[in-house]
Subunit: 241 residues, 2 copies
């Protein structure tokens, strides 16, 4: 049995806030076998990964892309600063590869729930490091989540952009299936499924950025583990360049 | 609070089996607000969507692709029969668009847990129709799931290939965020997140193809709803052709 419950009462997070202390203060019991899934936005804000549009001067490339795709050139400037590659451009969204290797809309730069109208929230610089820093303080496994679109499908799904103490992948290859036949191509993106599950337990417009999941003992590690960086397919293996 | 629990004791499913009756016989309480997530394989088997390799004669195109990618030409023949387009070929996997519009490895044709060594399981012909047929008999919302790979990421994640009684998408566009700012590009693939969540509650090698999820009342519909076909991005909108 798996149980998901959002943490309640987290205040609006500001740069420099001690996120671990504020999460602890929500009063939810956290066991070492629990997984706490945290929306990246509160992690980014605590880490000061926010940019005020008023402080941004767009360059030539940003002005050009902004005109072409009907976007704010200052926002495009910020997006380009986070991107190593513009993969596709689509109806107002610039699908970019980030410096972490993630491929997502607007290089993960987001304006909603940013805390102020002229503010953009960026992805944490190193979300696995953010998760590793939170893990000992909260005493449970940590997943940092963001919603990514999916090629060929509508709607976004939450994925893990950082994790610590959770096995990001479960590799069934080489193990026998129910018929005793060796399973092929069965590597499950556990951390992404965990992030997706947590998203169901909270409302987008309610202030519940953290969800506790109980019952995932089989995927909880005694150490930090390899992190969500493992989930990124190498550029050389990218079939959709 | 959301709770996930696998149904236990489902026997091996054979073509012609009454899947709804066998699922009911597992004895789990199913409320109208519950969602039952079912691995497509048992649905496909009950519907007779299985092919014995011994009965397949590969054509010229299958022989050619099989040689090129180190696959069984008979399996490739079956895959091509399910595919409307070969999107990419990658290390032994043929990424195809199926007649449903899904883009996935081997057009959803799978050999593992097929029930016999020379048998392949295909996707249901119309997984939304399968879900709609199961819904009144089980008295709860139904999701039929399969694991798909993800562009740019490693590992597979379960997605919804059919559903009835569950809202497949939750569209937040136009609603205010916490700062009163209109949210953009916020459409959540609820049915896919539900499928992913369920995958965490069962082991691949244990016989637990069905998982009951309790606590998703906000996404359960009074009717069948639009089904998982809604999650398929139209070919014309495909940025990754």
């Amino acid at each position: 049995v798996i149980e998901l419950e959002p943490l309640r009462g987290l205040p609006e997070i500001r740069p420099g806030d001690d996120l671990a202390a504020l999460l602890s203060a929500c009063g939810a019991e956290l066991l070492p076998t629990d997984v706490l899934v945290i929306a990246h936005k509160v992690v980014s804000k605590a880490e000061g990964r926010v940019v005020r549009l008023a402080d941004v001067t767009p360059g030539a490339r940003a002005l050009e892309l902004a005109a072409e795709h009907g976007k704010d050139p200052r926002a495009v400037e910020v997006i380009l600063g986070e991107a190593t590659e513009l993969v596709r451009a689509d109806a107002g969204r610039l699908i970019c590869r980030t410096r972490h290797g993630f491929v997502c809309a607007n290089a993960g730069v987001d304006a909603s729930n940013a805390g102020a109208a002229d503010t953009l929230v960026l992805l944490p610089l190193d979300p696995d490091a953010s998760a590793r820093a939170l893990r000992p303080r909260l005493g449970c496994a940590i997943v940092i989540a963001d919603s990514f679109g999916r090629a060929w499908r509508k709607g976004q799904s939450e994925v893990a952009i950082g994790c610590a103490g959770l096995a990001p992948l479960r590799d069934y290859r080489g193990e026998p299936d129910l018929d005793g036949r060796e399973m092929r191509a069965s590597v499950v993106a556990i951390a992404d499924e965990v992030a997706a599950a947590a998203d169901l337990a909270r409302g987008k417009t309610s202030r519940e950025p953290a969800v506790r999941i109980r019952g995932l003992e089989q995927y909880v590690l005694p150490d930090d583990g390899p992190g969500a960086a493992t989930l990124v397919r190498a550029w050389a293996d990218d079939l959709f360049r």
